[in-house]
């Protein structure tokens, strides 16, 4: 991505990124959607939701204010765990769209048996993955006070 001329129109930059981004998004979205659906069904069954319904709150408000915050946690968490997917996906997508990114670098250096570069790339990628997991954990704590203090 960095090879794209920075002076160029940023809209053009987005345009180039669109197809790879869509590919990764479609792949990424499936698990969180299913997770969120399962959690929503569970939360819908709970007593405080029934209470809110009986109190005459509008359905939309119940869904957004009462149900969603409680159902969102695991879905966010699964998104973080799916970082591994994205990173693997990035390697394939970069290869497919001929983007000279870290994934292509990794693949090229593996075929050339350039071990130090492979090690460095994997170290970097794993670092990003671990940081992503950390951010997700912190986000889960911040979004749900019940998980407790840090």
């Amino acid at each position: 991505m960095s090879l794209i001329d920075q002076a160029k129109n940023p809209i053009e930059f987005l345009w180039i990124a669109a197809l790879p981004a869509i590919t990764l998004t479609v792949r990424m979205a499936a698990y969180p959607i299913r997770m969120l659906r399962d959690n929503l069904i569970e939360v819908l069954d709970s007593e405080y939701v029934r209470m809110a319904v009986l109190n005459g709150l509008p359905a939309q408000k119940i869904l957004l204010r009462h149900i969603l915050p409680n159902a969102l946690g695991p879905a966010l968490n699964i998104t973080a765990l799916n970082m591994a997917y994205v990173i693997g996906g990035v390697v394939v997508v970069e290869n497919l769209f001929a983007i000279p990114g870290i994934g292509s670098l990794l693949v090229d250096s593996i075929s050339l048996r350039d071990v130090p570069v492979v090690e460095a790339a994997i170290l970097l990628v794993s670092l990003v993955y671990i940081l992503g997991n950390l951010v997700a954990d912190l986000g889960a704590v911040l979004s749900n006070p019940r998980i407790g203090a840090l």
Binding site: A84, V91, N95, L96, L106, Y129
Partner: protein, 297 residues
Amino acid sequence: MSKSRSALVVSPSIHERATTRQRLLSSLWVGVAILLLFLVGALTGPFWAPYSPTLTGLNPPFSHPTPQHLFGTDLLGRDVLSRVVYGARVDLALALISTLFSVLIAGPLGLFCGYVGGWFDEALMRIFDVLISIPVLIFALLIITAAGPELGGSGLLLVGVVVLVYVPRMTRVIRASALDLATRDFVIVARARGESIWSIIVRELAPNVSGILLVEFGVRAGYAPILIGSLGFLGFGAKPPSPEWGLMISENRIGFAAAPEVVLAPACALALLVIGLNSLADGLARILGRNTSRGPL
């Protein structure tokens, strides 16, 4: 508004539960049907596939489907239908064998770690934590680099890669169940009877995790073709002229605009196999009361 509000309150009625149950079973049967289709195709393929998968120059490259070549021909003029059929042998065999080996290694290992514990368990779990923290495809590429060029592209290496990717993850799942089982009364009673560790693991714990192992097998087997196909696509999996699906997609993508069916045939076969294995695992998991929505990795 009132309609959507009532939709929030209603708990599943008996009727709805019945339909849900039917849906679960149908998910299992769809999976079984698709897997059987692939198994039969893979086993009997050589008897009815119209051409050899490696016979080149049957037609000009990327020629369109004809009655002789139902999915057209690929960049070397090979019959795509035959290659997809033979590819089922490669992908299905690699996926099932590697997942089976993973289950066979991870099952006993997980039970031992969970039940016996101790320093071995502690050390192994820390090592596995490290292995799990490396993204799957990256880890697979790392193993392939480490294995060196002599083994490159061999089925043995691919099975080894999948086993190394799966064993840490499966072991953790089995270990967690073993930890839970170890506190149950029947295990405590068995220990009070003076049974040995091995006898408890084999006769008390193993039968109780067999369902979990089965679901693990289904879920992981559903992801294995994706991993093998991705490696093939990147050029680190099966080597040409193997009719492995990922490799076929990669080889023929230069001709995608001219003959999309040449790329779509292996892609759809791969997708269908993964969907079949996943719905099989899903159906099994729900019957056994477990949840697969956490994803395979």
